[in-house]
Amino acid sequence: MESITNSLIQSWGITSSTGAQLVSLLVMLAFSAVVLIPFFLPFAGITSWLERRIAGRMQSRVGPNINGPQGFLQWIADGVKAMEKEDLMPDDADKPLFKVAPYFVFMGVGATLVAIPFSEYLVLSDLNVGIFYIISVTSFVTVGILLAGWSSNNKWSLIGGVRSASQMISYEIPTALSILTVVLLTGSLSMQDIVKAQGFWPWQWHISNNPFMIVMFFIFFISALAEGSRTPFDLPEAESELVSGYNTEYSGIRFAMFFLAEWGNLFVIGAMTTVLFLGGWQAPVALQGSIWNTPVQFIIFMTKMSAVVFIVIQLRWTLPRVRVDQLMIICWHYFVPLSLLSILAVTIWMALSYGHSALELGMSIFSAAIWLYFVFLVLFRAVRNFKKTNAKLNLNFLE
């Protein structure tokens, strides 16, 4: 970033400090706009299309397949349709808050993108407090949802908003505690430092530092699902109980903004899981210094991230929804004590193994073997069950 700015300043012959600041501001503005508009919006849109296609596939139906090849352009059609709809507002709604609430949700998700490292150099801003920053801007989403629910003057909206907010704040505790173990291992809050502390091979990732990190990974993943209100934790939108939750009264583009934020949040969940536990953008060491380094890192990051997003989507169409009491009990009775215990175990392990690099490596390989075994088991059973059905394997996913 800085080198681009400096070269621009030199080539334009700008000497005054105000001019230089202006140029750097413009460069950053352009870069932020590139990340947000042509990357984030299509990502959210394409994910929405993909999700409906996968859902169709999993439930033996078609899903969107008319607009564009395989329905690929469905998300653009949806966006245009949302814009052409009337922007309704209920009679007794609190007008300013009703209008401003979607912006909060949208901005809360958009702001997280600043700190996400796509590769060694492709990051908008490597904040010193990176991971903590991402936790903190999520609070805007909570406040936005709460305001949306209250301002609609609708019982379902209010209950949905309140449920959503209490769910998000409850699960912030296990999320933050599981991130804490990663911070313990890294000694830094910066996202780039967290990635740099890991390596390309699975046993160099944070998830396989010791067996307790696998526990922490699961707690983080499940809590992140709950914070992003994804199934099995989509209580705020529980259609069967609450019509549509906090966004019942919204229509047109404001409704679409909530959903853009939701699918954008999916990206954030995937990216955070990748960065914190799955090695981030780490490419093979052999590539260092070559011109392919940055593209390969970007591709590795996006692949891992997409894999996580795919699992999240698949979970949505596999699992039933939990009840609100179960939700709170899972968080406060199981996750909080379990993550406190795991923190304890991780710190003790760190204190014991300090300076014994062979011991650390052995433990890493051991715990990598554990989670790889589970991954293998899932795949093995999936293949076996598939063979039992005697169905033909059809890999044409988009059919």
Binding site: T18, Q21, L22, L25, D94, P96, L97, L127, N128, V129, F132, Y133, I135, S136, V137, T138, S139, F140, T142, V143, L146, L147, W150, S151, L158, V162, A165, S166, I169, E172, S188, L189, S190
Partner: protein, 168 residues
């Protein structure tokens, strides 16, 4: 120049938020104004390179306190009635008092010589420094904080239980 403009922008958010909090007759709007004010303060901390503090301000005040206040406010009946929201009272007495206070502050500002005693903290991670001093120089306050939090926890539970038995 731009950075100075940013300061005034953040200060504006803080002050406007505070004004909304104080003058709005709808208490949810007040809570909303409070949030704007908190975000402005967080921005000011960030402006002064206190990055950890800025984030803590966001997490604790926006994510915690404001949500708590919104919960409390939203669950109270008839909240949009002015009589249970914050009424503007004693405007006559308050105005000269506030004017005097502002006069004193402005008068004092010209007389006091503000010297920055800190060294420049340009883009240094403050989290580590805070951690270091919490665990070495300020261990006792650090541990006392946990006792304080425990007291708050017990108090909160106690208050809630009392209301519950009243209901039954």
């Amino acid at each position: 120049m731009i950075v100075v403009l940013l300061f005034y922008f953040l200060a504006l958010i803080t002050v406007l938020g505070a004004l909304v909090t104080a003058f709005s007759k709808n208490i949810v709007h007040s809570a909303f104004g409070l949030m704007a004010s908190m975000v402005g303060v967080a921005g000011l901390y960030g402006y002064m390179s206190a990055d950890f503090l800025a984030i803590v301000q966001l997490i604790v005040y926006v994510g915690g306190i404001v949500v708590l206040i919104l919960f409390a406010v939203m669950f109270t009946g008839d909240i949009r009635e002015v009589k249970s929201s914050n009424k503007t009272v004693n405007l006559l007495w308050a105005t000269p008092f506030i004017a005097a206070l502002i006069g004193i502050i402005i008068g004092a500002e010209g007389k006091v010589n503000f010297v920055s005693k800190t060294t420049k903290l340009h883009n240094t991670p403050t989290t580590k420094m805070i951690g270091d001093s919490l665990l070495s120089d300020y261990v006792l306050p650090f541990e006392v904080v946990s006792v304080l939090l425990l007291a708050v926890l017990l108090g909160a539970v106690h208050v809630a239980r009392k209301y519950k038995t009243d209901e039954r």
